[in-house]
């Protein structure tokens, strides 16, 4: 029976949430194809093997640990060569990666090495005969494409948060695997890994996003947005392109066609008129709230709930009321 592979992502010696999502997806695929084994791969500096057992909780039967001094940071060539070697060594039905910064870089390299099919940024999948069927949002989320992946292994990178990992405890066999190439021979090396503001929630992982636009008038006024996000507690802060272009916020905060595409449970748009370029990035949020002074602003056409008026009065009041709610919870 064919096994399913999952590449478990770690950073700074810790497993990332997407590692469990990849393993859980592999478990689902293995169970759907008759209960084959799930093999996870974990790269890291010496000591990373201590994290291997945790992958068993989400359904990994085997964890292959690739420990090396040089692999505490991502090494595109070494990771790709080693994953490809593993996939060649046995009969794998599918392999799952995270559609994270690392997985989006790694998965296409492995697919090209193997001549395998790859579906990227997948939100849902199923096994169908010899093929894998995957759903993938394209055209800035305006079209959902159902893709057929032919041949084995089929490679999939999963959009973070699209799978809720459920615990399926088993005792994973932990084995070690040598890198398929000498890390010293890599032509690309990470020379620095900087954590920007590690306490800040990433836009792709946040279930609530508070986002600000030009209506805030100055960079300093973004504090209103940050205060609201802080009052909510588990919210990330985003911005429109106009705001990041003006340097009020870093470019990485931009939500829109040329920035991040997000789909949180709740999206609060503060002083955002709703340019098409911005809507492309957040139209798939479950619930959208808009606060804007112009009742004809396009943002109100896609918002579930809107308040028309002066954000400098509305947002502080909202922050205050949410603080009260949170205190009573």
């Amino acid at each position: 029976m064919a096994a399913v592979l999952a590449v478990a992502e770690a950073r700074n010696g810790e497993l990332r949430k997407v590692a469990f999502e990849a393993v859980a997806a592999a478990r689902q695929a293995a169970d759907a194809s008759g209960g084959g084994e799930v093999h996870a791969m974990l790269f890291g500096a010496p000591g990373i093997s201590a994290r291997a057992e945790a992958l068993g909780r989400f359904g990994a039967d085997v964890v292959s640990v690739v420990e090396h001094e040089a692999l505490g940071r991502y090494s595109p060539e070494v990771f790709a060569a080693t994953v490809a070697e593993r996939l060649r060594a046995s009969d794998y039905r599918a392999a799952f990666f995270a559609a994270s910064a690392e997985g989006r870089d790694l998965a296409p390299r492995v697919a090209a090495k193997l001549g395998a099919s790859l579906a990227s940024d997948v939100t849902d999948f199923q096994l169908q005969g010899d093929a894998v069927i995957a759903r993938h949002p394209a055209y800035t989320g305006k079209v959902i494409v159902t893709l057929r992946l032919m041949g084995s292994p089929a490679l999939l990178s999963l959009r973070p948060g699209s799978i809720t990992p459920s615990e399926q405890p088993r005792t994973a066999r932990v084995e070690t695997m040598a890198p398929a190439m000498d890390p010293a021979a890599a032509r690309v090396t990470v020379t620095e890994l900087s954590a920007q503001i590690s306490t800040r929630l990433d836009l792709g992982e946040a279930s609530i996003i508070v986002s600000g636009g030009r209506g805030l008038r100055t960079a300093e006024n973004f504090k209103l947005v940050e205060d609201l996000a802080a009052a909510i507690g588990n919210a990330a802060v985003g911005a429109t392109r106009a705001v990041t272009d003006d340097g009020w916020r870093p470019a990485t905060d931009q939500i829109g066609q040329t920035g991040r595409l997000v789909s949180p449970d709740l999206y609060i748009a503060v002083g955002i008129s709703g340019a098409v370029q911005h809507l492309a990035g957040m139209r798939n949020a479950k619930t959208i709230v808009a606060i804007n002074k112009d009742k004809d602003a396009p943002i109100f056409k896609i918002a579930d709930y809107g308040i028309v008026g002066d954000l400098f009065e509305i947002v502080p009041r909202l922050t205050e009321e949410i603080r009260k709610v949170r205190q009573n919870q």
């Binding site: 890994l193 920007q196 579930d304």
Partner: protein
């Protein structure tokens, strides 16, 4: 420096899409096309490099004759010549596209091969790193800063909650994120000059795709929202709705 920039002609994302009768593609009626957003950044990076260090930018695009319009736009911005790899249908499979590009690029003697981070239509972001693998070249994806000197490069790429600085040797493949350089507008002089620049047409050697579109669907329109009220007095009602109706707080 000899730099190749691979660009894609994509539909204008601001339009309202409808599906063709096969439910596997967009209805082409009324579609307007443009250069992919990130491909514009990649081209600007290439042009700035040759302005500083000398050399030539060559454009590549795969597709039907309509891509010539996109290639001419890139020539008007300052690229020296262009190659169309001709096919009537551009596959969804990034590896099929990468094969056709690699076949053309392998004998080109390029120092750098640049791509946009992702095509805004298919949203795969795979062709750059796949092409690098097929050509056995070092590759850094999704970069937001770049420095090239003495046959080596340094690039920065953004991660979730962090950033990586990577060093690489040339020749190399890079995919370009937003924020690195705003694409220039073509001047009238550039537009006139572009008409006379060489644009070569060759067949695209795509091979058999293993990733195919089964069907497409359009997500349902959002139900019309409502204005809860005006001013700060509407805040308690908004909170009530978020808690009891939307159940998101």
């Amino acid at each position: 420096m000899k730099i190749a920039v691979c660009i894609k002609r994509v539909p204008d994302m601001e339009m309202r899409f409808s599906l063709a009768s096969d439910r596997k593609s967009l209805d082409p009626a009324g579609l307007k096309f443009e250069m992919g957003d990130f491909d514009g950044y990649a081209l600007e990076v290439g042009l700035q490099l040759i302005e500083k260090q000398g050399g030539e930018v060559v454009l590549l695009s795969i597709g039907p004759d309509g891509v010539q319009e996109t290639l001419r736009k890139g020539l008007a911005m300052g690229a020296g010549r262009a190659v169309q790899l001709k096919t009537e249908d551009v596959p969804f499979d990034g590896l099929a596209i990468a094969r056709a590009l690699a076949a053309e690029l392998k004998t080109g003697g390029y120092d750098l091969i640049l791509f946009g981070r992702v095509a805004t239509d298919t949203a795969n972001g795979t062709v750059g790193p796949m092409t690098a693998e097929l050509l056995d070249l070092p590759c850094v994806t999704s970069i937001s800063e770049l420095d090239i000197a003495d046959g080596r490069g340094t690039a920065r790429r953004e991660l979730e909650g962090g950033a990586e600085t990577m060093q690489f040797s040339l020749p190399a493949v890079l995919t370009i994120d937003e924020g690195i350089a705003r694409p220039r507008l073509a001047s009238l002089k550039g537009i006139m000059a572009a008409k006379k620049k060489p644009l070569e047409v060759k067949p695209a050697q795509l091979g058999e795709p293993r990733l195919v579109v089964e069907s497409m669907t359009l997500p349902p329109d959002r139900p019309p929202g409502r204005i809860v009220g005006e001013g700060a007095d509407a805040v308690p009602e908004l909170l009530r709705l978020l808690k009891t109706e939307a159940k998101v707080l």
